[in-house]
């Protein structure tokens, strides 16, 4: 139970005199407020034309830095909805030793954008970009392969 003395009944409904009721005082107060708001600056952003920048911490579309990925499968393991898929091989093809990913795709249609993969990646190869425009015309396009993940997907920016 709370320690406050709020158990005392509070008259919840405001009392009004007859004159106040008859002259619609509270209604006019409300109308005065809305009238003032008519002339105040507006807060909305005209989206396709103007874009608000997001905070750097924002978890947008996933990207993978192909050159640093060591193919450790941690992101695939931690992903709660299994949207990351990769296969890694051992080799020296890309000018570095150790494992590298040969096959990597992320299904953004399933992604939760929870950031767990970013958190577990030991080499900070997979990360959330600040890009949030991920709408596509068909589901297959929501799947980003290693090429797209590395270089970023094409965003069709609205012109006009």
């Amino acid at each position: 139970m709370s320690t406050t003395d709020s158990s005392a009944p509070i008259s919840s409904a405001p009392k009004k005199t007859f004159l106040e009721r008859f002259l619609l005082v509270e209604l006019l107060k409300g109308m005065w407020l809305t009238l003032k708001y008519t002339f105040r600056p507006k807060v909305t952003v005209q989206y396709p034309l103007e874009r608000e920048s997001v905070h750097p911490n924002y978890r947008g579309i996933l990207r993978v830095d192909e050159s640093t990925c060591i193919g450790c499968y941690l992101c695939e393991k931690i992903c709660p909805d299994k949207c990351i898929h990769l296969e890694a091989e051992r080799g020296y093809t890309k000018g570095k030793g150790g494992k590298y990913a040969t096959y990597f795709y992320i299904d953004h249609a399933r992604c939760l954008f929870c950031g767990l993969c970013e958190e577990v990646c030991p080499v900070d190869s997979i990360y959330h970009s600040n890009e949030y425009e991920a709408a596509v015309y068909n589901r297959a396009d929501a799947v980003h392969d290693l090429r797209i993940l590395d270089s970023g997907h094409d965003i069709i920016h609205y012109e006009r």
Binding site: M1, L74, K77, C83, Y105, R110, V120, P122, A140, A142
Partner: protein, 259 residues
């Protein structure tokens, strides 16, 4: 935490080592691998029963058994299905004033006998104490309904019935609440596959998608073979196929991750 459970029960120490003994764990950054040093286990030789449990056992004797406390310090008791109504009525009207039924659920211990535990979480608005009551329930049998004692039990029991299939005898309207009336099986049972029992059906849908119909949806930009291989089957249908596709994967296994 403000109210770290001070009266650790016998179960508590068991939890700590288990939590810590796994350094090779699917490794994340090794920085904080070590947990808080566990509060020194206090192996009390004879754990004092919680006053709530004591009051209850004092009233009912053998009909209820003390099961210790959970990690929040809430006492747990177990009662038989036959005595449940009597015990619960006393809990509400008696000295403990547990007037608030917080939640009803069940736990499926597949191999145990009885298979289910129906769990009631009680609370006293005013006295501010909690109690967990458990009652065993065999598959196909039931426990008495609590609707007459707490009206709140109505939907909570329907939910439990819907997801576990435990009957509540005397419930006025025991129907499924979330799932469609003609749903087969009870999803939260441990033997119910994660992705549902109609896996074969879904796979067929998926195959249909992957075959002709999907291309129709895509129209002129028909997906080429390479792209399809790259995209993998998880893209198209509603289901995820765990392995990268070698060829047509007709059979799918339930999600095995987490084991």
């Amino acid at each position: 935490m403000a109210d770290e459970p001070s009266n650790d029960s016998a179960e508590e120490p068991a939890a700590k080592p288990a939590a810590e003994e796994k350094p090779e764990a699917v490794a994340e950054k090794p920085a904080a691998a070590d947990a808080t040093p566990a509060p020194a286990p206090e192996p009390e030789p004879e754990p004092e029963p919680h006053p709530v449990t004591a009051a209850l056992t004092g009233q009912f004797g053998d009909k209820v058994s003390d099961e210790g406390e959970d990690q929040c310090g809430t006492p747990i008791v177990r009662a038989g299905a036959d005595d449940l109504t009597e015990v619960m009525t006393w809990l509400r009207d008696g000295d403990l004033k547990l007037n608030y039924l917080s939640s009803v659920t069940a736990v499926d211990y597949t191999t145990r006998d009885p298979r289910f535990d129906v769990v009631y979480h009680l609370y006293s608005v005013g006295e501010n104490h909690r109690l967990t009551v458990k009652c065993g329930c065999e598959d196909g049998e039931g426990v008495p309904s609590m609707v007459d004692i707490w009206p709140a039990a109505d939907w909570l029991e329907r939910e439990t019935y819907d997801l576990y299939g435990t009957e509540f005898l005397g419930h006025p309207d025991l129907r499924r609440i979330f799932l469609p009336d003609d749903w087969e099986g009870f999803p939260l049972r441990k033997d119910y596959p994660l992705e549902g029992p109609n896996l074969e059906l879904l796979t067929r849908q998926q195959a249909a998608f992957r075959g002709g119909q999907f291309d129709r949806i895509r129209g002129e930009q028909a997906i080429n073979e390479q792209e399809r291989e790259m995209a993998g089957p998880g893209v198209v249908g509603a289901l995820w196929v765990p392995e990268p596709p070698a060829d047509e994967s007709e059979t799918e296994t339930p999600d095995q991750e987490g084991d």
